[in-house]
């Protein structure tokens, strides 16, 4: 428990500079890793530059990250907007840098419930943003919709606020009554609208993580079951963000921290119909489990 003390992240943000736009030249070595979009397109490439790193978003931007991930330089490709560069920095480069400095970072959304937070773990397309927005619309402030950073908080871990915006497909916007919310500048790599001007506010302080929910497949009805610590660890690991997936010492230390997280944080698998009409019941199910009042 936190004893009522505020939780703070002990991981300061890296020094970030923006360089003038530059055409992305072929780098001297092959990427040691790449990530892909749900449609199979390449999302990002990871290169080594001596002991440092280059995170490349093809045709969009390069981020040069120092070996200790405390300094970063963003280099937009010609014609890429400041909004796109900012989005890639906040939602991709910054979480990866935090992970490299020892934070636990996951593909997950999170919302504030009572004095704590709950996380929704899931790959792209599993409905994290829609669920987070559903809680927002019901008065539970979102912390993040896609990249969750956890920081030590007394005997707990705290979910820390991410980018104060949410990205939604048009059908989710309509179903959640966000048609009239002003969308930010469109991003060139997604048809989702980025909404920072929402009718509800975002939580701007870390909150102790009380529970996590792994978003499963669409199901005929809402089913929520507790995972074992082993199952929980495997889910957390499979959704973790890491900058350097080849540094064995770093990975082993990360594995130990995630194991501790899995041991002390209740984790549930949540299967539910992907119908907007079911969201009331999904929210109620999450609340009852997070508050310990589930049957």
């Amino acid at each position: 428990m936190t004893g009522g003390l505020p939780c703070r992240s002990n991981k300061p943000q890296p020094r970030f500079e923006i360089a003038p736009p530059r055409v992305q030249a072929t780098l001297g070595n092959a990427p040691f890793r790449a990530t892909y979009l749900p449609d199979g397109g390449k999302s990002a490439e990871f290169y080594r530059d001596g002991c440092a790193y280059v995170l490349r978003f093809p045709d969009l931007a390069d981020f040069h990250i120092s070996a200790d991930a405390r300094q970063m330089t963003g280099v937009p490709a010609p014609g890429v907007s400041a909004a796109t560069l900012r989005h890639l920095y906040r939602n991709q480069a910054l979480p990866l840098a935090a992970a490299h400095r020892g934070a636990l970072v996951f593909h997950a959304g999170a919302v504030e419930i009572d004095d704590g937070a709950v996380a929704f773990i899931g790959a792209s397309g599993r409905g994290k943003s829609t669920l987070v927005a559903s809680f927002g619309a019901r008065g539970f402030r979102p912390l993040t919709d896609d990249a969750l950073t956890l920081a030590p908080c007394g005997d707990d871990v705290a979910a820390t606020p991410g980018d104060a915006a949410i990205r939604l497909w048009a059908d989710s916007r309509a179903a959640l009554g966000l048609d009239n919310a002003m969308a930010d500048s469109p991003l060139p790599f997604t048809a989702k609208a980025r909404l920072s001007d929402t009718p509800w506010s975002f939580c701007n302080a870390p909150r102790p993580l009380r529970a996590a929910f792994v978003l499963g497949e669409s199901a005929p009805r809402v089913v929520c079951g507790r995972l074992t610590a082993r199952e929980s660890l495997m889910e957390w690991i499979s959704h973790a963000l890491l900058l350097d997936t080849q540094d064995r010492v770093l990975i082993d230390a990360h594995f130990a921290r995630v194991a501790a997280l899995a041991t002390r944080t209740p984790c549930y698998r949540l299967d539910y119909p992907r119908r907007f009409a079911a969201l009331d019941q999904v929210v109620a199910t999450v609340l009852s489990h997070a508050r310990g009042s589930a049957p």
Binding site: R230, E231, M234, I237, S238, T245, R248, I251, A256, A259
Partner: protein, 91 residues
């Protein structure tokens, strides 16, 4: 197979969570969950036990027939070898 022994490569990290375990191959990024029986097999492999000795211990510790234990242990060991989470010792 009964005299075969296996070893845990240095790049494999293991975390016990109660009576279950998760293995992570730090080189390949492969992770692998073990239930209580699988965790015991992995522990006995780490102790340097042969396949026959592992089955003897499992037969003494778990309520199952010998044939099932031998088949399940062999299948798990084959699976872990395939995922490079253990490797055969030189005879």
């Amino acid at each position: 197979m009964t005299d075969a022994r296996f070893k845990i490569p240095p790049q494999v990290s293991a975390r016990a969570l109660g009576d279950e375990m998760v293995l992570l191959d730090l080189a390949g990024g492969v992770y692998f969950g073990l239930d209580s029986v699988g965790m015991r097999i992995f522990e006995l492999i780490g102790d340097g036990r042969s396949m026959a000795e592992i089955c003897d211990r499992l037969f003494a510790e778990f309520e199952s027939d010998r044939a099932t234990i031998e088949a399940d242990a062999a299948a798990l060991i084959r699976d872990m070898v395939a995922h490079r989470l253990i490797e055969p010792c030189a005879q």
